[in-house]
Symmetry: C2
Subunit: 242 residues, 2 copies
């Protein structure tokens, strides 16, 4: 799990708390706004991977800006990068532009993990399949369903589609609307390698509080994130109820 705080009004205090929770629950990373990367890296050092977001959440920045933003994030200490594709370019059939943008960001990332958010809720199945191909061709590490700032999050069908169409080196992150451990298990059975959700966290903390044992599998470990403003895109992994 990428332990995430991308609310528009997230404060450093909230981001720092998120970092502490991530350390406690051994999440895969903390995923935080670009302007907090330098401080989070200084605070965490090598104890936890710092992930940040590029062209987020709308994806319609120029390629030059996304490239600069990626370099800037890495210079500030980012270990992982979650980028959003240019959806307008995809819908306009400018597929070379979409692929080359991903490829340029992957080149900048080098050995660092690059996840590509395609915002499935805005795409047709045909467009999703095209993106599976382009993400694979561009050499990115993950395809990810959702920003959490659009109309909806991950579906079982999307993850199944990803699993059937991405190359074998491309992993899958499902994000958004994962509201129970049963759902989480199902997403992983269908092929998801990482999950984004904050609802499981609340369940897990409730279980912890009641003394129940937690499932210790690395990819299902969870941590709490601070609540975002209601309705304000507080959960960038897609848990917002819209």
């Amino acid at each position: 799990m990428d332990h995430t705080a991308l609310a528009q009004d997230a404060t450093w205090e909230q981001v720092k708390e998120l970092c502490d929770q991530a350390l406690k629950f051994h999440t895969a990373s903390v995923c935080i706004p670009p302007s907090y990367v330098a401080r989070a890296k200084e605070y965490l050092g090598e104890r936890m991977a710092v992930c940040t977001v590029i062209g987020f959440p709308n994806g319609y920045q120029t390629r030059a800006v996304k490239a600069f933003e990626t370099r800037d994030a890495i210079a500030n200490g980012a270990d992982e990068i979650d980028m959003v594709i240019n959806i307008g370019d995809l819908k306009d059939g400018r597929l070379d532009a979409v692929r080359e943008e991903i490829k340029e960001l992957k080149d900048i990332c080098g050995s660092r993990i690059l996840k590509v958010i395609i915002e499935t809720c805005l795409l047709t199945d045909e467009e999703k399949k095209i993106m599976c191909r382009l993400v694979t061709e561009a050499g990115a590490d993950f395809i990810k369903t959702s920003t959490g700032f659009s109309a909806a999050g991950a579906t079982f069908a999307d993850v199944e589609l990803f699993a059937a169409h991405v190359g074998e080196k491309v992993r899958i992150k499902a994000a958004g609307g994962i509201s129970s451990f049963e759902d989480a298990k199902r997403f992983m059975e269908l092929g998801a390698d990482r999950l984004g959700t904050s609802r499981l966290v609340k369940l897990a903390l409730a279980e912890e509080k009641s003394g129940a044992e937690m499932d210790g599998k690395p990819d299902t470990e969870v941590g709490e994130k601070p609540d975002g403003e209601p309705g304000a895109g507080g959960d960038a992994d897609g848990d917002a109820d819209r």
Copy 2:
């Protein structure tokens, strides 16, 4: 009015249609995603001002990225810039950082108009007053209520607060939730110099269709924008019903 299409999945065809409508209705500008600025400028030439958005909609990019994005937009032909403040910095009391970021972007803009979106729905009245002061001190041209991608849009109270607290050189843009000509009139009476809404457009086109005369005041002229995806941040001037 800034005639706006900032939906996450806006295509060039939709942006071009928006440009045509802006020309027809003589709006103050078209406000479009950064990746369309070069094409829109090539299409429009000097017939219409092109406005784009920086650090949009979440505002938590680094200052270096916002500065680069602004330079990139201007190099692509942008005539006006709508930036989003770093809300976390404001809430963390890093007021110098907030002001210096606005100031740097205004320096880059030079004589071009810079509007500063403070996302009123996430701020306390005290924070709004602080922003009136910082926007004035930084020398920006407009203070603007909302991105249209957060919890809510402009209120009469916000525009009144702005009018009472910004410097005399700072103009006011109200955006979001303006659903009738009566409301539009009220916002302008309270001090708004520009308005952002797409609902008035539909009313105006309906009136035009029925042969009714339109009010020809420059700041109330309206044009239609293509409908965005429902619930997907389609109306970046805040008309989304959330």
